[in-house]
Symmetry: C2
């Protein structure tokens, strides 16, 4: 009985084939199979970061339009090989996995930032300006409006201020107490329930679009706040490169579903009101951070 049990439970997210039945919600897999090529975008390789770990590759898309100063600084550090050999220094359960120079706090031992800047304007939010925004229908506990903008989960205050939210997979810029003290040399990825209280208090550098299952499964650190208590517990990052600097033939082929596409809207609606042999009481609603943006290997 169990395998069927497991399969049935897994319908929540996974995408089994489904018989024709007008009453059943189409699965994301079925919807994606019918998508048009133009509904997919290939991220700009200048905004794609390959972080190669012993367990595999993590791909981060930088939020160029939301934190351009941070994106530029991170690119500088990547190109000067700042991150190569840095480490996963902290994994706090249901919160963040953080990486960087474990000696970054010791001025005598800290790795040089090279030509990158030590401090940056905060870029915690964005005021005014124009950007695509596909609003979600069900509201939000934290903000008057939420939706997606070019693949990023975004909240708005209704008065012209907007920010990328701290959903699962969001990559943020660790900082010291002062708002201008973040520079991108230490980054964190959200690995649990979205800690939305971080919104507007930290700069978002981008989001993981592939490889979250690597960052989320490291052993949690035993020190307060999830820092590893022994240096040997830290995983060493092999290299961090920009896709733009990798020969085209060696890049990881990846496309992201456009968040202003009809297919993305259909995927959201299917999740809001899922009906099939297993789900008999659809939620009728969906929270911003419960939506993951589909990616695919276009080959």
């Amino acid at each position: 009985m169990l395998a069927r049990t497991c399969l049935a439970l897994a319908l929540a997210i996974a995408l089994p084939a489904m018989a024709d039945d007008a009453k059943k919600t189409p699965t994301p897999k079925e919807l994606l199979a019918k998508s048009a090529p133009a509904e997919w975008r290939t991220p700009d390789p200048q905004n794609l970061v390959y972080m190669d770990l012993p367990q595999g590759r993590v791909i981060i898309e930088l939020a160029q339009d939301w934190s351009p100063l941070h994106a530029a600084n991170i690119r500088t550090m990547i190109r000067e090989h700042y991150f190569d050999g840095t480490q996963i220094i902290r994994v706090q359960d249901n919160f963040v996995t953080q990486w960087g120079d474990p000696d970054g706090d010791d001025k005598k031992k800290a790795k040089s930032l090279g030509t990158a800047k030590e401090t940056l304007a905060p870029e915690f939010t964005r005021k005014g300006g124009s950007y695509p925004f596909t609003r979600l229908p069900d509201g939000d506990v934290y903000a008057p409006e939420v939706g997606f903008s070019d693949g990023f989960p975004v909240a708005r205050d209704g008065k012209g201020e907007a920010w990328i939210t701290h959903c699962y997979g969001t990559v943020g810029v660790a900082r010291d107490t002062g708002a201008e003290t973040g520079n991108g040399s230490s980054l964190y990825a959200i690995i649990g329930q979205a800690p939305r209280n971080l919104d507007r208090n930290l700069a978002v550098a981008g989001k993981v679009i592939k490889g979250m299952e690597i960052l989320s499964a490291y052993p949690r650190g035993g020190e307060p706040m999830g820092f590893y208590d022994k240096p040997e517990q830290r995983v060493t990052i092999k290299s961090v490169r920009l896709a733009a600097d990798v020969p085209e033939a060696e890049r990881t082929p990846i496309q992201v579903l456009r968040t202003d596409s009809k297919t993305f809207a259909a995927v959201i609606e299917a999740k809001r009101n899922r009906r099939d042999d297993f789900y008999t009481r659809p939620a009728g609603k969906i929270d911003l951070c419960n939506i993951s943006v589909p990616v695919r290997d276009p080959r």
Copy 2:
């Protein structure tokens, strides 16, 4: 700089000492230090499950008042040693860790359920009746009312129906397609963003009150839906016992903050409106599944 950076970021959840400053929000640690003994409860050992894994002990509190038939069936299986030697069979990223008999679907190989029942009434929700309820002030995307009841995160439809929500750490009953097919022999714990679409479609058996960092950090399975593709990837459960069946001297001392206490209300308020040297823009709101109920070792 990094260590300070890390510390500063970590203030979001961790609990450093803090200077006296009227403008600053007290930390949970400070609030808990001032709590009264009567604000803590010791869970009934008949409702406490010790699941011993090679990586340590996971403690689950059964939701006796919300799914009594399931609690009784699980107790029967525990006492007949059904779970000893069963395995972690599935870890799907940002969703669930599931355990049970890997051969449960094969009637010839499946472990006997002993005197436990094969099917149970669903117990997906609770209608009417009286139970404690401490309502949260900021609303919810999915339900008209949310709050806590004896430590469990609960949603209500405003018409007399209530259910435990699928927050991080909630333990649910895997089932087959039919609503009555769950029996507690395979359980899952939520390890990511709360999949609230499961609410009202599955029975909740209880919640993990200690040891989530073990269940959340297993490698994700490579098969669809996170099943492990090789039997050797599965972690074997050493034993599952009820605290009531363990000699008192060998029990894990644990207390849970009462969710109808003043201190719990103060902890929630401090999280809603956190102000300190790091957080300059408090969220002003909090989502149900962003609140974890404090536990402590009373010794």
